[in-house]
């Protein structure tokens, strides 16, 4: 079994820390806004690390000055998807950079079963390894 520290997945920033409080999230958003990064809120119920593209909750938010509006959206998203993973991403649109600069999880399911390690016997005595989330055995929206 994969190491599942504290029984939660570790992806993005701050994921080895205890869950961020709203105040801490605001401070992080403030930092992103100070750098003129656009902020998006995304959710998913498939926590596989290669699942890069999560669903967006609303449009990405440009031209904001204050974290209060984003926190309001985060809370809306939490209300809509209380048992999904929700992350906040910051996007730097500077020409030549154009990539996400921050990404951290702000909401998790109550119980995260983690991943299993699958071994596939391939040609000869080769073994191929892959990980599989227990949660994804169930259909979408019933996973957590």
């Amino acid at each position: 079994m994969m190491t599942n520290l504290g029984n939660h997945i570790t992806q993005g920033q701050f994921s080895f820390l205890p869950p961020l409080t709203d105040k801490q999230i605001s401070a992080q958003i403030k930092y992103a806004l100070k750098n003129n990064w656009a902020i998006g809120i995304e959710y998913t119920d498939d926590p596989h690390p290669r699942n890069t593209y999560w669903e967006m909750f609303g449009n990405p938010m440009f031209d904001l000055k204050d974290p209060a509006g984003i926190l309001m959206e985060i809370n809306n998203c939490r209300k809509t998807f209380p048992n999904h993973y929700i992350r906040v991403t910051a996007f730097n649109s500077t020409r030549g950079v154009e990539s996400p600069t921050m990404s951290y999880i702000v909401n998790r399911p109550k119980k995260e079963p983690g991943f299993s390690l699958l071994r596939q016997e391939a040609n000869g005595r080769n073994i191929r390894y892959t990980i599989h989330s227990y949660a994804t055995d169930k259909p979408e929206n019933e996973r957590y």
Partner: protein, 312 residues
């Protein structure tokens, strides 16, 4: 031991210096600037001073451990066109920022178009986006009465108002909403939307300017652009204001600004066609009486094609 004597002394010990707090907040500077840059508008300035005092006292109260619930500062500005509603709103954002009531102190100025969408489901995201942008600052809704169109029951303005009300109530610490518009139509708007009226604590009415105030405004506007009146020019402009005020579509300071723009045009024209093209610095700066007396207002009374028409 003797509680009675210890308690009052407790109060005395926690004295706070209101003056020190006042000077620390730089409020005086903002208020002075307001006095200096905004001519007239007595009731408005009084109201701003009162608000500033309230916020300051609240801050001091908080420091001495008394409860200071954040006052609701949503406002409505009513007045005729060109009485300085937008200018004051901008200043308001700065004042509230200095007092620490809003965090960023920026002003987001919107009209109906920015809030109301065209199709079902379009309005809510649009309104919310504007509200999110305004958080930490001041949201200024110009001509707010257009939000509500009672004659069209399928109008989406009502939806926008609903979201607005919700945020005004729940995010009171995050943003201040200022509604602005002409007096009579705003009254009608508030009458048909009692929810909004009850959530707005401050109704400020902007009076029309006196002729002398308009002249002072004109001088201030010119000074900002490095122009000035000659002695005769000033007298002529005083006469111009008197005449202009009697006409229709007079919109206070805005009419003054338009008149000045036209005077600058005529001044440039006069200088250009002058025989002696050797100009001094003061020639370039001075607006003479003839620049103003050439105005249509002095020549004729048929002013149907006045260029101030339709400005609102």
């Amino acid at each position: 031991m003797n509680k009675k004597s210890s308690e009052p002394s407790d109060f005395d010990n926690s004295r706070v210096d209101l003056d020190a707090e006042f000077s620390a907040s730089n409020i005086q500077e903002v208020l002075d600037k307001l006095d200096h840059e905004l001519i007239g508008l007595k009731p408005v300035k009084n109201r701003i001073r009162e608000t500033a005092a309230l916020l300051l006292v609240d801050r001091v109260r908080k420091k001495s451990g008394l409860t200071a619930s954040a006052p609701s500062l949503h406002m409505s500005f009513t007045g005729n066109p060109g009485t300085g509603k937008t200018t004051v709103a901008l200043r308001m954002a700065e004042i509230l920022h200095r007092l620490g009531y809003v965090r960023e102190g920026h002003l987001v100025s919107v009209t109906r178009d920015d809030l109301v969408g065209q199709y079902i489901g379009h309005t809510a995201p649009k309104t919310k986006e504007v509200l999110k942008k305004a958080m930490g600052g001041v949201l200024f809704i110009d001509e707010a009465y257009y939000l509500y169109k009672p004659e069209n029951e399928r109008d989406y303005g009502a939806e926008s108002i609903e979201i607005l009300l919700q945020v005004m109530e729940n995010n009171r610490d995050d943003l201040v909403v200022i509604l602005a518009g002409y007096k009579d139509r705003m009254d009608k708007f508030f009458h048909s939307n009692p929810g909004i009226r009850s959530r707005i604590a401050h109704h400020i009415d902007f009076p029309d300017y006196q002729p002398s105030e308009l002249l002072a405004i004109a001088k201030l506007m010119l000074a900002d652009q490095d122009y000035r009146f000659s002695q005769e020019g000033e007298t002529a402009f005083g006469e111009y204001i008197q005449l202009r005020m009697k006409m229709e579509h007079f919109s206070n300071a805005r009419s003054v600004r338009n008149a000045l723009d036209r005077a600058r045009l005529r001044q440039a024209n006069r200088l250009f066609y002058k025989s002696n093209k050797n100009l001094s610095r003061s020639d370039l700066m001075t607006i003479e009486a003839e620049d103003i007396l050439e105005s249509r207002i002095f020549n004729e009374s048929s002013l149907d094609s006045d260029s101030d028409k339709g400005t609102n």
